[in-house]
Symmetry: C2
Subunit: 814 residues, 2 copies
């Protein structure tokens, strides 16, 4: 495939020489810069000291008195390895006045980040207790990884962060999401060689293929290859330079290995300068009218090979520490009790000679660290001004501007029409795109076409840079067959102030279950801070749902994502199962407007009836659940039995069951309820949407049998309503893990959710609660009749390979 003539060919080839980039230092470092690099080094001396102190000390933060074992924390966590990179980011930021922040994948890296944030003043900006003075430094050191203090992983309580390296694998995709539509921004992303082993990271390297250098910023990945995990070598640590060069060249990068330990500051500074120039050159080509954009540009990446535990103690009890797995996290785990370790810690902390850089006596007496009391002013030289400091970047905490949203009613249909909700959602999303230039994207692991959302393509394209096809250029839609990558992109994009939509096959959204959970945890801590401003919600659409995956079969039938989502904090979680296109439109508009939530919308891509008028739909969605009078006996007054539908197909069956019962057993008073907002169900007070007792009873009665036909696993409903009173009258139907390649109706009967199953349960419930006119023969006869019908339908299906058509006609009520 040759690029279109609008592009310049990437000139470098894949020859051996080009698999690893060699630098002419003179080209990337002016003669006078070596002097400046001393500042970079001195900053590291202070932050290395601070990070080590945070890990080990609970008192005597500045070593103002001789170290004793009592000064040492009982629980030791964290490592200090990120100071080198942080200092060099600062250097580059200051040199070019370039907007940049840092995303770090490696777990337990918080000490280094916090030390830098403290010293640059970003910590004090958001947490006045952490001032650049004796009180501040004492708090910083003692309360690190201490109950009530900052944890050993950066989280959303830490300024400048949009990602927590708890569950590894996502730093890279999150970084790419952050730079999309942020044309000047560079996110430096540190990927540890542990994290690099994960699948999500392994495929996220492809993300640059989706970055248009004209409209988006750049990620500078730094693979920090120090060779060891907790007790063993890493894969990337055992790969030699040639292997790494080939691999990442293949991923599309120019690969520069930084490993000159004798001159690490020079090597890293020059390499970062090289990377910076490469990035700006690619962007210049894409943005300037005088130049042609580069086809398949090879973006720069760095591989930093430094020994694990560098600058820490060299050996312990005769075993090497530095450069071995023993340096993972805490190299002297028994410093509080073991004499040799204690001595090593003492020498190690002293080795940074912090007293030569900071006048600790003056600080003790109340002086501020940032000002005159720094003995060697060069320590602070490298820290950028407040606007450019990585801990203060607005993108990371205050960039959100709500979307302009069209009125969903303009897209709604008349009652009785048969329509695919997704095709209407596609129409609506198209308008959202038009109204929100470069603030809204759609990330999808499936193709929009497959989810019937392709109306979006009437106003936009895909956005894929490795293709020469115009259909893959310039658009708002990013499709990659990696749920992990989509989720990471969405997180980065959302947490930097924009909004997106993540449509997926219902079954495969579960792939990112734990990413969603990690995100929920990040947001939970973030909303509890005083300084983080709201951001948009993340918005999932589950479609191609299990009940209509009868053709793809059993492997495509799994609604279980929901089972995890409902365990997250109630104030973060919203789950909707809109029963028709009108309700779905109303729901989507609401979700795109909402802040900080995790919204899950579940609906069908197949054509299904519009049950409610636009006005009714809006009211229904606000209520979350309501009695559907048209399908109920006497509009649902004083029922003998309540039939509940929650989900598109199972609601259809509930309505059909009501239709059967009103015909076959008119003495049984039936009420039909639809639940569109799942979170009305739990006990009053446990979720903001939970109905109060009397409203709950006004829908479900206090004592009548309820047949609840649910879209997903019954366990969801059972756990949600458990604490409601009198639950033994509830019969919950749902997906029972029965499926194969079959027909839509067979899916329902196989799982006991068909109209006949619902009708049978209704009759049994009524008999059980003493409905006299149904008792004995009559109930038995009705139930036998319905069972017979199930069998007859199944015979028809086996014979003709399809469902009887009349089963899907919209029931007509008198």
């Amino acid at each position: 495939m040759s690029p279109t003539s609008n592009y310049q060919e990437e000139t470098t080839s894949y020859s051996r020489e080009n698999l690893l980039i060699k630098l002419d230092y003179a080209h990337y470092m002016k003669p006078d810069e070596e002097e400046n690099l001393k500042s970079v080094h001195l900053l590291q001396r202070v932050t290395n000291y601070l990070a080590a102190a945070m890990i080990f000390l609970q008192d005597n933060a500045l070593l103002l008195e001789p170290l004793t074992k009592d000064h040492i924390k009982e629980r030791l966590l964290g490592h200090w390895g990120l100071n080198l990179i942080y200092a060099h980011c600062n250097y580059l930021i200051k040199k070019h006045a370039t907007p940049m922040f840092l995303v770090t994948g490696p777990g337990h890296g918080a000490p280094a980040i916090l030390a830098n944030l403290f010293l640059e003043g970003s910590l004090e900006k958001f947490y006045p207790d952490y001032g650049l003075n004796m009180q501040g430094i004492t708090k910083l050191v003692k309360f690190f990884s201490w109950p009530g203090g900052f944890p050993s992983h950066v989280n959303s309580e830490v300024p400048g962060q949009i990602h927590e390296g708890g569950e590894l694998g996502y730093a890279l995709s999150v970084s790419f999401g952050a730079v999309m539509d942020n044309p000047d921004l560079i996110v430096t992303c540190v990927v540890g060689d542990g994290e690099a082993e994960t699948g999500p990271t392994a495929t996220a390297w492809h993300s640059y293929k989706f970055i248009d250098p004209a409209e988006s910023g750049a990620v500078l990945p730094i693979l920090h290859d120090n060779g060891f995990k907790i007790s063993e070598e890493t894969i990337y640590g055992t790969m030699d330079d040639n292997e790494l060069g080939a691999l990442f060249t293949g991923f599309g990068y120019k690969v520069r290995i930084v490993s000159d330990l004798e001159n690490i500051d020079k090597d890293l500074a020059a390499s970062m300068e090289w990377a910076y120039q490469e990035i700006r050159n690619i962007q210049k080509h894409a943005r300037s009218s005088d130049l042609k954009p580069i086809f398949k540009p090879r973006w720069p990446m760095l591989i930093l090979r430094t020994p694990k535990g560098w600058t820490g103690p060299k050996t312990l009890h005769g075993q090497p520490i530095e450069g071995s797995f023993r340096a993972h996290q805490v190299p002297l785990p028994h410093a509080r009790t073991d004499d040799e370790e204690f001595q090593l810690l003492d020498s190690w902390l002293k080795s940074y000679r912090i007293h030569e850089l900071i006048d600790v006596e003056k600080v003790k007496n109340g002086a501020s660290i940032a000002k005159a009391e720094i003995i060697d002013q060069r320590v602070l030289d490298v820290i950028p001004n407040e606007k450019l400091r990585m801990g203060s970047r607005k993108e990371t905490y205050a960039a959100y501007k709500p979307l302009e949203l069209p009125d969903p009613r303009e897209f709604m249909l008349q009652k009785g029409e048969i329509v695919s909700s997704m095709s209407k959602i596609g129409d609506y999303a198209a308008k959202v795109i038009e109204a929100n230039f470069k603030r809204f994207r759609i990330f999808s692991p499936d193709e929009l076409v497959s989810n019937k959302l392709d109306h979006v393509f009437e106003v936009t394209n895909r956005n894929y840079q490795w293709s020469s096809r115009t259909a893959n250029k310039g658009g708002r839609v990013l499709e990659i067959l990696s749920e992990h990558t989509c989720q990471g992109w969405m997180q980065g994009y959302t947490l930097t102030g924009r909004v997106s939509l993540f449509p997926s096959y219902e079954t495969f959204l579960g792939i990112i279950t734990t990413m969603m959970i990690q995100y929920a945890k990040f947001v939970k801590m973030g909303v509890a801070t005083t300084w983080r401003q709201p951001h948009g919600s993340i918005n999932y659409i589950e479609t191609s749902t299990l009940w209509r995956q009868e053709h793809n079969g059993f492997s495509h039938q799994n609604p279980g994502f929901l089972n995890n989502l409902i365990n997250m904090k109630a104030y973060l979680v919203r789950v909707y199962l809109p029963p028709d296109a009108n309700c779905f439109l109303s729901t989507l508009a609401h979700c795109l407007r909402a802040k900080n939530y995790i919204n899950l919308m579940i609906g069908s891509k197949q054509p299904t009836p519009v049950w409610l008028s636009p006005e009714e739909a809006e009211i229904h969605c606000i209520a979350g659940a309501s009695i559907w009078q048209f399908a109920s006996t006497d509009s649902g007054i004083d029922p003998d039995v309540v039939l509940v539908g929650c989900g598109v197909e199972v609601t259809f069956e509930v309505i059909a069951a009501a239709h059967l019962l009103r015909k076959d057993a008119p003495e049984l008073r039936v009420r039909v309820v639809n639940v569109t907002d799942l979170m009305i169900l739990p006990h009053e007070g446990t979720h903001p949407h939970a109905l109060d007792h009397s409203t709950f009873e006004s829908l479900f009665t206090n004592d009548k049998p309820v047949v609840f036909n649910f879209h997903g696993y019954p366990s969801v409903i059972k756990s949600l309503i458990f604490d409601r009173p009198h639950t033994d009258r509830f019969t919950v139907f749902g997906y029972e893990e029965e499926g194969t390649t079959t027909t839509p109706f067979k899916m329902l009967t196989a799982n006991g959710t068909s109209r006949f199953d619902v009708a049978i349960a209704a009759i049994r419930g009524a008999v059980h609660t003493g409905h006299h006119s149904l008792l004995a023969i009559r109930a038995h006869e009705l139930i036998s009749g319905y069972m017979h019908q199930i069998r007859e339908h199944e015979k028809y299906i086996e014979k003709y390979g399809k469902d009887p058509e009349e089963l899907f006609k919209m029931p007509k009520f008198d």
Copy 2:
């Protein structure tokens, strides 16, 4: 890092020439072979025909009458693209009499596989209805993707399969699991270019770094790069040869691109022969005493670049089909209704000229296809004998031999000892390794050291080939920081007859939630067949559990894997929360013995008390739950309140609560119950382990308040006991998504699971059910006192950064 002197260096370098392998055909193909390749081509002509017929036809399978639209299925699914590879596998197998089978990642690939299985007789072997005759072929064609027939993805109902390509991403890791400890076996693994975009596939390419060529077989990966997904280009389709060469060379492969469309059979046959020789050469070096093993051997892989929809219709309605996304799955979706599509289908099916190869008239009249009625015998020439046929390989359905298991009682401890369950499990696993040479492995995303399972290393090593360290050689333990890869390896290893253990941090096991679900679906269908023999269970250990991740913090606290597991079919799922080391040993022995299950064991790595003697532990584990008399009033007879613990730390709190109550409120009769087998809880009959009503009542009473202190999310217990009678007397405590870096005890109070919370709930429950001597002042006073104690403990924690020690002393009962 230089290899040890025991190794030969890999001689090929990473130069440009070596990024893509060029073949001297003469070296890999004898002059007379070209004639043999005609058989390969003819076989494809038949299987291509059959696959197309299966996709489109419901009748007239052999075109014995003119095609009409009525012959066409209403629902069309599947593609035929794997026939080329299948035929060439057959060719290679026959040439070398080499054991091989095929794992295919791409979804909807079943028609090609089934066509080949039919023709080679493997289908008939397991399904006599699918004989090589008119009845068989009619059934094959009509019932493909038909209710009751084979689905469009291969699943466990299909002979020769150990993997279902439903959720994409796992074919490669499953293949590697299958060849481990199967030294002669080659698994050819087809990875689609859609699947290649997934993270799990992206990192699974590293799997060869864990394959010791002396003890294990080989995987031959074929990346089938046809350029398109459903409607768009794939990433790998847009990468040029140089990019692909660099990437996979970096992953450690020798990369051969097969793309000579004019001579595809020659190109593919020579390339597979090359790959075969490369594989056997690496193995020879590793296995022969005369040669040195090759360090970092570069294993062969093929990239097959063929147009999508090859051999299908070329254009439709003026648009190209072949070589475009329109060939994804079904290229003529409206053949039943559209005249042009119908005509194209007719010509397409005829283009295979099946009548020239099979005497269809004779077949119609009852002749067998395999025998004399084949006009051109060369069609069958390439099919291997029965023993070597890919659909009949024992490894895929009948290779299981149970493990030799030591008696767990030999490892058990006396009551009252304080021990890490994981250290004992490490001891036990070490013995299992010794007793089961090359039939047992441990796959772990964490390091065993981190989960305190490192006693295993007293008898074995890790197994990592890219390292020169002996600690990483020759062992039974595979550690990779990729849960996905571990899961895939385990599946492949288990389904080929061996047994393994997958220990993980509890929180991060959720990463493979949907892989577990896909596996559960595969096994569910498999156990329903008559011909698949049992295989071992897959065995998860969740440790480093949330209650003791107080140091790692909130991101390391997620017990949600369980919430999905319990939705799987009851007869597949076993969940255990052994309360102490003795119970854990008994449970592990049981799990390693069990067949076909998904076993989840949850326990602590921290030292905790042994509550039960070896004999008591065995009885407790068989019962699944029992009254712990030592902690109960009068051994638990006639209680006022039942306190239930399920999980290590929460059970400790229940016992401590009982201790408090028996001291502070001796008039309240307390019963303590421990649940070790979670699946005793659901309603009688819904799970094989579910207690009958009377046993359930004998533990939990019929009417007394029950405080259920659970290890995970309360939703698990709520959904499990929902259908039990009188559940409104149950108060369920568990993880409420409250956590940060804190202390173990603060974790409990933050989530309301501490002894004080349990005691308060017990008193409230007793008062609510009319326990007169506790009413009014007394209850109020007790509750206030316990609340006060919570506050006092929290103050202590904030001050000292640790828990008061007395909280973790084992309660002594009189």
